[in-house]
Symmetry: C2
Subunit: 354 residues, 2 copies
């Protein structure tokens, strides 16, 4: 049994010691579901190994606080142990410290100022097709409804708003083959790709402010390939371009932008993930930043699961006590003081005491 | 037995019908050696499946007339057959028609105006390390000595002088890896390679006249590769450049030229083959062009075995009755009129009657 009255660091250790690699979250999900079911102010829902618990107080606003139950594979770093104010073990930072804070909030904030939905989901650390939050969004989007969402992935205790989108396109340059001893009979596609690289080299990334945060785009070749044989003028060269775009653009707008930039070339979108609005102009989000973040927040530049909330119309931020640079490392740990700080700040915000 | 008194087209057919794929030339080499041994004006030498026969008349100049005995693999195109003035079959154009002309000259020109060395060699159609002419040059360079050489590879009856050299270099551009969501933390090596492509795009190939012939160089990217992962700023991009250079440059000079052009980048030479001087300012070569070529010759732009003569200090040309565009095709044939024309012209030149 998980004891939700225990100290948040002890609760984190208990969660870490229930091994839950992606695809193997059932034991932990069962324990979380049972612990939450004992709390009379929460309605508990379940989908596979995802657990959702929510208040129904009729508050004017609802916030969603989400975290994933799974970890990357254990590498001889279980059970957990404490050393020098740090809790070591697989999943401490990414992200059972955050899950422990969620569970403490669920237990302690019986009458929060906003209605709250706590989401615990599976399979975040693996292929997106298995992602539990994605599955919930498809099966039961109403479970994820809210005015504002907080994803408790490790951010070192800093609020990171929204996330940038990402798109990859293959830009294909055509030419005409010829023997390289008579190169003027052909048209060199690799030389032609120089013009595509010119576009990238001349490009100045946008740094727009979106809903209160400064984003920073990037437009880069991530692959280039061309060539037939050592004595052949190549007739094809493909430059794969990755565009990281701020959340003032939709996926469709990002695509249109790239097609304009590479007008005259074959442009094929190979993958895309939507950005997420930070929503810091939303009153509950602004209050969250003022209270929990001490008024400070920065833009999230990498893509994260907050995008799934944004796609449902829920602005979202990343905020968690873990250290993102330790995620997925063998020596992963969470700073116990940081876990307590996150619990205290979040609880103060939810109860209106901060 | 090969009958060297037979018509040159019949002799070509007889040679074609003795299958001699690369590495399997022994039967044909034995027949050639035996036929030549019957000619009292020739000294016959042998190295593996290469046969060399030469006059020793004390003439002031010596010419070398060379051809290879091997063919590419037979593809259901043997035995030979005649249809509409064409002799069909594997190796007709490349290059048993040329070998037949060599053998007719050896038999008929008992008192040529120049001393003549006839070279018949093995393994031209395979990896250079097995090449019979290369082996002869290493074992017995004196067998290949002369003032001028004619390689009877198919040229459609046109004299092609010398050959261009070829060099491949890998030009490596370095950068610094970073996550593509924070691309400004890195340095994109693919974008950096744009500057290498700029050099290639801005380059104007030389078209120098060398020893009477106009060459035409080429400098081209033949491969480009770079990229680590779809979300990583790449730290390395390699452009493989092929330089086809005229015979007024040595291999060392070509390398120095490329190193100057790509100054500041890592430049690694991956392979190089020397060019061949056409030597058309040599009196015997000029006489050959005047007599056999009707005064016309053009530069050979692709690399050929004439380079091996040039490396021994013997200027060389390509001249043969076969059609180069038919070489290595299933429907390979040689035009019988062209074979007779080559025999007649070469014989006229060697006997001083043309």
């Amino acid at each position: 049994m998980l004891d939700l009255t225990s100290d948040v660091a002890d609760l984190t250790a208990a969660l870490v010691d229930i091994r839950s690699e992606s695809g193997d979250e059932k034991v932990l999900a069962d324990r979380v579901e049972r612990a939450l079911a004992d709390l009379p102010h929460l309605e508990v829902l379940r989908d596979g190994d995802a657990v959702v618990a929510r208040t129904g107080l009729g508050r004017p606003r609802r916030v969603v606080i989400a975290g994933h139950l799974d970890t990357v594979p254990v590498v001889d770093n279980l059970p957990s142990h404490v050393d020098g104010g740090r809790l070591y073990g697989c999943g401490t930072s990414d992200m059972k410290a955050g899950v422990a804070v969620q569970l403490k909030l669920a237990a302690l904030a019986a009458e929060p100022v906003h209605d709250v939905t706590y989401v615990f989901y599976d399979n975040e650390e693996v292929d997106a097709s298995r992602n539990g939050l994605r599955r919930l969004a498809a099966h039961s989007p109403e479970w994820l409804a809210g005015d504002f969402a907080i994803l408790m992935e490790p951010t070192g205790g800093v609020i990171e708003g929204g996330c940038q989108g990402t798109m990859r396109v293959r830009v294909t340059v055509r030419g005409t083959r010829a023997h390289s001893a008579r190169s003027w009979m052909g048209e060199n596609a690799i030389h032609g790709a120089g013009a595509v690289l010119d576009v990238l080299r001349a490009h100045t990334p946008r740094e727009p402010e979106v809903e209160g945060l400064r984003f920073h785009e990037g437009l880069n070749a991530v692959f280039v390939e061309g060539g037939v044989a050592g004595n052949v003028i190549p007739d094809e060269c493909v430059v794969t371009v990755n565009y990281r775009f701020a959340p003032d653009l939709s996926v469709a707008e990002a695509e249109a932008y790239l097609r304009g930039l590479f007008d005259g070339y074959e442009v094929e979108v190979t993958d895309a993930a939507a950005p997420a609005r930070p929503g810091l102009d939303d009153p509950s989000a602004a209050a969250f930043v003022a209270s929990v973040g001490g008024g400070r927040a920065r833009a999230k530049l990498g893509w994260t699961d907050v995008s799934r909330f944004s796609e449902l119309g829920v602005p979202a931020v990343n905020y968690g006590p873990g250290d993102p640079t330790l995620a997925h490392t063998r020596d992963e740990y969470a700073d116990i003081a940081k876990i307590r700080e996150a619990e205290e700040r979040m609880l103060g915000w939810l109860t209106g005491e901060r």
